[in-house]
Structures are given as structure tokens and as C-alpha cells.
């Protein structure tokens, strides 16, 4: 009895506030836009009985999805989201790996402090961290002031409101997600493995490629997915740093909903986005499973 109550409460909460809302999104994605409140048809009318339900289902269709496929804005936005997510994942890995490596080879008594320094930005507001780059990257910003002052450039660079700014913003905000899993994989590694490799004739660099990299593989994969998956649906960074040039699907959804008030298309955008996300999420789960098994 007690067990039932324990299960029932969180279960019911998640059903009502996670699964049902998502089913609603799915249903609305099959509806048509209307100038009404709510701004879509059909609406389910239970008072009309069985006939009402039948009418309701007969009016649902995949028109919105067909629309997404024909209007190049949408598929370009999906492709561009995936591209940006992919490139920024690689960039984050390139920046994050040396930091994680440095942390793992630092003396033991430094490590808790270094860990805290990596986690601390994670606790500060995401919005503020993205915002802090606006002042740095703008035309009259601190970076241009510095470069002009040093005489490295003669005219200010345009960085803000370009994809470059988006990449910088993503690498900056998602860096802890990359560092932590790689660090925990590297830290677990037995130091005598590298000595053994050296003893058997490896140089430091070959030992790194043959031993360190393969053994931190699960950490690298986990870190990459932890960056890749959320970046696809990212909204704040492209909106603040990317300007009108940068097309990302999270921003398109937001604008479709708030600016165009086209709820059915916004819902269809959301459904497709989720379908795209399923692939990396499943791959990520498989990687996690594998690393859990390896630990045992």
C-alpha cells in the first residue's frame, strides 16, 4: 500500500505534466491554424459524444509536416542547428580536453579546487554568462578595443551577430559539460599504465595516443553528447549572440509561437526536433550503458 503511494504520486505528476502535455503538442501539430482562442482547430468536443470524437480525428492531418518539408526556412534551420551543434561540439572538445588532462595530471591536493573552479560557472546564471560576451564581442567591445590598442587590427572586427559569436558562446557555456566526464575518465586511469607503455618502448606522445585517448573514450563520447544534444535545441545563445544571420531551430520555434502565433506549425517543429534528437539520445544511452558495464 505504502509502495503504491510512493510510486503513484511522482508517476501521476509526470504523466500529467510531462507526457500529457507532449501528447497535446503532438495532437496540435496535426491541427490547423485558426483565428480563435485557442488559435487552432479542431478542438475536441466531448459533448457531441462519439460523433464528436470521430469528427475530431477525421480533421487531423499531416499538413503542417508537409509544410515544414516544403518551406526551406525550416529544413535549413534543422540542418543549420545540426551543423552548428556538430562544429561547436568539436570545438568544445578541442578546448576542453587539454583542460581535463591538465586537471587529471595536477597534484592531488589541487584537484578539489580545480573541480570547484570548473563547476562554479555552472551554478551562475546561463543568461548572464551568455550576456557577458555581448560586451566583449561587439564592434566597440573590449576585444576590439584590445586588438586596436595593440595595433593588431586597424578596423574593428564584426564578431557579434555572426556564427563565430555563437560558437564562442556555446564553447564557453557548455565547456564544463565536456570537461567533467573526460576528467573523471582520465582521473580513474591507473598511472602505471603509462609507465608500462613507456617501459615497453613508447614515447610520451605515442603512449598518449595508444593508451590515454582510448581509455578516456567513454568520457569523450559522453562529453560530446552532453554538448551536442542540448545545443541542437538551443535558444538563448543564437538569439543574443547570433543576430538575424544565425538560423537555429529553437529560435525558429520561439518566433513561430510568440511572433507568428502559429501554434500548429510550432508544435510540428517541436515534434520533428524531438524525432531528430532521439538518435543522439539513444546513442548516448548506449555509451553510458557501456561505460557502466566497463566499471564493473
Amino acid at each position: 500500500m505504502r509502495r503504491l503511494a510512493l510510486i503513484a504520486l511522482p508517476y501521476a505528476w509526470l504523466l500529467a505534466l510531462f507526457l500529457v502535455p507532449f501528447l497535446i503538442v503532438f495532437k496540435i501539430s496535426l491541427s490547423d491554424i485558426a483565428t480563435a482562442i485557442p488559435p487552432y482547430t479542431p478542438t475536441l468536443d466531448f459533448r457531441a459524444g462519439w460523433q464528436g470524437i470521430k469528427d475530431f480525428f477525421s480533421e487531423l492531418d499531416f499538413e503542417n509536416f508537409a509544410f515544414l518539408a516544403t518551406d526551406s526556412l525550416y529544413w535549413k534551420a534543422y540542418v543549420s542547428s545540426l551543423t552548428i551543434a556538430f562544429i561547436s561540439t568539436i570545438l568544445t572538445l578541442l578546448v576542453g580536453y587539454p583542460i581535463a588532462y591538465g586537471m587529471a595530471s595536477a597534484p592531488d591536493h589541487w584537484r578539489p579546487t580545480l573541480m570547484m573552479l570548473v563547476i562554479l560557472p555552472f551554478w551562475t546564471s546561463f543568461l548572464i554568462r551568455v550576456y557577458s560576451w555581448m560586451g566583449i564581442l561587439s564592434t566597440e567591445g573590449y576585444l576590439n578595443q584590445l586588438l586596436l590598442g595593440l595595433g593588431l587590427i586597424s578596423t574593428p572586427l564584426t564578431i557579434l551577430n555572426t556564427p563565430t559569436a555563437v560558437y564562442i558562446g556555446i564553447v564557453y557555456t557548455y565547456l564544463p559539460f565536456m570537461i567533467l566526464p573526460i576528467y573523471s575518465a582520465l582521473e580513474r586511469m591507473d598511472g602505471s599504465l603509462l609507465e608500462a607503455a613507456e617501459d615497453l618502448g613508447c614515447s610520451r606522445l605515442t603512449a598518449f595516443w595508444l593508451i590515454t585517448v582510448p581509455l578516456s573514450k567513454t568520457g569523450i563520447i559522453a562529453g560530446c553528447f552532453l554538448v551536442f544534444i542540448p545545443v541542437i535545441g538551443e535558444f538563448v545563445i543564437p538569439s543574443l549572440l547570433g543576430g538575424s544571420q544565425t538560423l537555429m531551430i529553437g529560435k525558429v520555434l520561439w518566433e513561430e509561437f510568440f511572433n507568428n502565433r502559429d501554434w500548429p506549425v510550432a508544435s510540428a517543429v517541436a515534434v520533428v526536433l524531438l524525432l531528430i534528437l532521439i538518435v543522439p539520445i539513444v546513442l548516448f544511452q548506449m555509451n553510458e550503458q557501456k561505460s557502466r558495464e566497463a566499471e564493473q
Binding site: E198, D199, G201, S203, P214
Partner: protein
């Protein structure tokens, strides 16, 4: 003496493989190795034995090249090793944790070192096959390290170091992770492999039985120094110090004043106790303090005073340690000195002669004890 006894350290014509010359290693203030000079010869099975922190692992890591001596030189075949990095040394090491690469199979682990030398593929395959055969791992070649047992992992580690046919193989506590039964079998296997391959082995261990079993010479270490390096038999029978006598096996130490008599010394150790006599070749001044080291199995125990023995004392049994095949009697003399005596349990339990609180006589021959300076 037989012709084929393996004792290169007694042959002045023999050239040592490894020479330590005045080697000192300091970590900051801490002196890990204190000015050590000694030689290791080809085909030797040399054991560094000592408690943890005595410097034996540092000694080994200097040989492998992971540490450099603060002072002094280490020579391999007459050549100074200081400028040679670990990956270029003809020395391989078997790590205490085995350090098997978890992402590589048994076969790939063994081939790892050979591949670094860019040997032709066929040669690598032949060598790995040979190593798998030597260590009886043929059917596990495709497995990953976590899919085989502890004993098998140990053999993979051994095969991996041996594959490169090093001039010298270092083994850091190679049996530390094995249980007692497996350990014994592995010791003999290790000796067998050492003999077959003719490689020089240096083993680090804190287990004296293991060192005595496998090694041709044992170096007993303490505080960064080798106290004595000699054959297992001489280490046991002729320890050069109380430390070595006490570290290896069981012993009773009786301190006393020594006086020269005939071919040995009289030892007076307590008032009201008989003077003991030890026929032992050593240099003592009359009246100097000496330490009589007495192995328990050389002490006889009897109810009556034995005839014709100089060394006979009377005491009371306070403890009996029954070990199955042996029993050790702890006997206390009237002055408080304790002496251990061991007898083989050739009879059934019920027919044993002595029990707690019995007063008994202990005796030993003139040559049984060794006399040490400290």
C-alpha cells in the same frame, strides 16, 4: 664443491650485468637510497627484500628509468644508464598492479612492446605465440584483461615483459595480488620460466618466504640500505646482523657479554644463569656486548637435563603455538629471558610430552647459535 654451482658473485673473472656505484636517491629531505654499491650478475634471480618504505621499489624504478639517482651511477653491461629514457632501455618491468591495458586483448597486450620496435608482422606473431605458449595462455589470446582470472592476468603481464627479450626483467611484488595457494605454484613457475629464458630477474618483495624460494641471492634492505646480500641459505644461517636474523624467520636474540674461549666465545647473559658457549668465527673484544641469535628449530626441549651439552637452560613453558606440522614453545627463564623452541609434531596430539606451566630443559649444540654485533 660441485663444478656447476651457480655463484658468479664469487668468481672474480665474471663481469656483472648491473652495477650500482655509490647510488643515492633523495626525495626532498627524505633519503630513499643511501649510497649503495653492489652488483647483479647475468642469469641471476636477485630479490630485494624489506619492509614497505625501505627503498626497494625506488631501487627498481631507478633501474627501469622512472627515477634518476641523485648521486652515483648505475651501469648496465658497463654502460652508464643515466641518459637512456625508460622506453629505450633493454629492461622491462612487471608492475605490481600488472598495468595491463584494459582496452587491448591479451594478444595485443603481449604484442604491444614488439610493435613499438616496428618488427615485421610475422615475427611479432611468432614471438607472441611463443610467449602465449610459455605462459600457457593460448586459449585466452582474444580475451580482454577483465575477462580472465588474477593468476592469468599475472601471466599476461609476465609474457608482455618477456616478449621483448629484455636483458633484465624487473618484477614489482609480482605475487602480491594472488592468494597463498596460487602464489606458491606461481613461484615455481616463475623460476622455471627464468631458467628457460635465461633472463636476469630482479624481484621486489616484502614476503621473505617468496624471496627465499625464488631467488639465487636475497638482498635484505632497511632504511635505504642493503644490510646483507647473499644466498637464501646464508641469509638464514649466517645473518650478519640482528636486523637480518630477526627479519628472516623466527629467532631468539640473547644479549650478553662475550669472552674468547677455544674456537668461539663464552656468553654470560644473566646472573644465576649458566654461561653459554658458541663456536663462531667472529672478532669480538673480551667484555664486549654480543647478541646470540638462536633459531627455534635448533633448540631441543626435554624434561631432564641433557647429557654432555654446554648450552642447557631451565625454564617454564608459557605459550605453545600449534602450527600443525610444528609446535613452537615459548619458554621463559627465571631472569625473564624468553627462548623459542620448535619441535616437529611427529606424534599425535594426545601423546605430546609438554604442556603449559611445565618446567623443561632447553639445549642446543655449540655451533647452533650465531654471535652478532648488533
Amino acid at each position: 664443491m660441485a663444478q656447476n654451482v651457480f655463484e658468479p658473485w664469487n668468481d672474480p673473472a665474471e663481469k656483472p650485468l648491473i652495477q650500482f656505484k655509490g647510488v643515492t636517491k633523495r626525495f626532498g629531505e627524505f633519503v630513499a637510497i643511501d649510497n649503495q654499491t653492489f652488483d647483479i650478475y647475468e642469469r641471476e634471480f636477485f630479490a630485494l627484500l624489506g619492509p614497505s618504505g625501505c627503498g626497494k621499489t625506488t631501487m627498481m624504478r631507478m633501474l627501469a628509468g622512472f627515477e634518476t639517482p641523485t648521486e652515483g651511477t648505475i651501469l648496465l653491461g658497463g654502460q652508464d644508464m643515466a641518459p637512456i629514457p625508460p622506453n629505450k632501455r633493454a629492461i622491462n618491468m612487471m608492475f605490481q598492479s600488472y598495468a595491463l591495458f584494459p582496452h587491448l586483448s591479451v594478444w595485443e597486450n603481449i604484442a604491444f612492446g614488439l610493435r613499438r620496435d616496428n618488427k615485421p608482422k610475422a615475427e611479432i606473431e611468432a614471438r607472441v605465440a611463443e610467449m602465449l605458449k610459455l605462459t600457457r595462455l593460448e586459449q585466452f589470446a582474444k580475451r580482454k584483461p577483465h575477462q580472465i582470472s588474477g593468476g592469468q592476468r599475472q601471466r599476461v603481464a609476465l609474457a608482455r615483459c618477456l616478449a621483448k627479450a629484455p636483458k633484465l626483467l624487473l618484477l614489482d611484488e609480482p605475487m602480491g595480488a594472488l592468494d597463498a595457494k596460487l602464489r606458491q605454484a606461481t613461484q615455481f613457475e616463475l623460476m622455471d620460466i627464468q631458467e628457460k629464458t635465461g633472463t636476469t630477474f630482479v624481484i621486489v618483495t616484502h614476503d621473505q618466504e617468496e624471496a627465499m624460494t625464488v631467488a639465487s641471492r636475497v638482498a635484505v634492505m632497511d632504511n635505504g640500505r642493503i644490510i646483507q646480500a647473499d644466498t637464501p641459505a646464508r641469509i638464514y644461517e649466517m645473518p650478519n646482523s640482528v636486523y637480518v636474523a630477526d627479519f628472516i624467520g623466527e629467532v631468539t636474540i640473547i644479549p650478553g657479554k662475550v669472552h674468547r674461549r677455544d674456537k668461539g666465545y663464552d656468553v654470560t647473559f644473566a646472573e644465576g644463569q649458566p654461561t653459554l658457549y658458541s663456536e663462531f668465527d667472529a672478532e669480538f673484544d673480551n667484555g664486549q656486548t654480543g647478541y646470540l641469535a638462536l633459531r627455534p628449530e635448533k633448540v631441543a626441549i626435554s624434561a631432564e637435563r641433557p647429557e654432555g651439552r654446554t648450552n642447557a637452560v631451565q625454564g617454564k613453558i608459557i605459550d605453545i603455538a600449534y602450527l600443525g606440522n610444528l609446535s613452537t614453545y615459548h619458554v621463559v627463564l627465571p631472569n625473564g629471558q624468553k627462548i623459542k623452541a620448535q619441535t616437529a609434531n611427529t606424534r599425535r596430539l594426545s601423546r605430546r610430552d609438554f604442556t603449559w606451566e611445565d618446567t623443561v630443559w632447553l639445549s642446543w649444540t655449540d655451533t647452533a647459535a650465531v654471535l652478532l654485533k648488533g
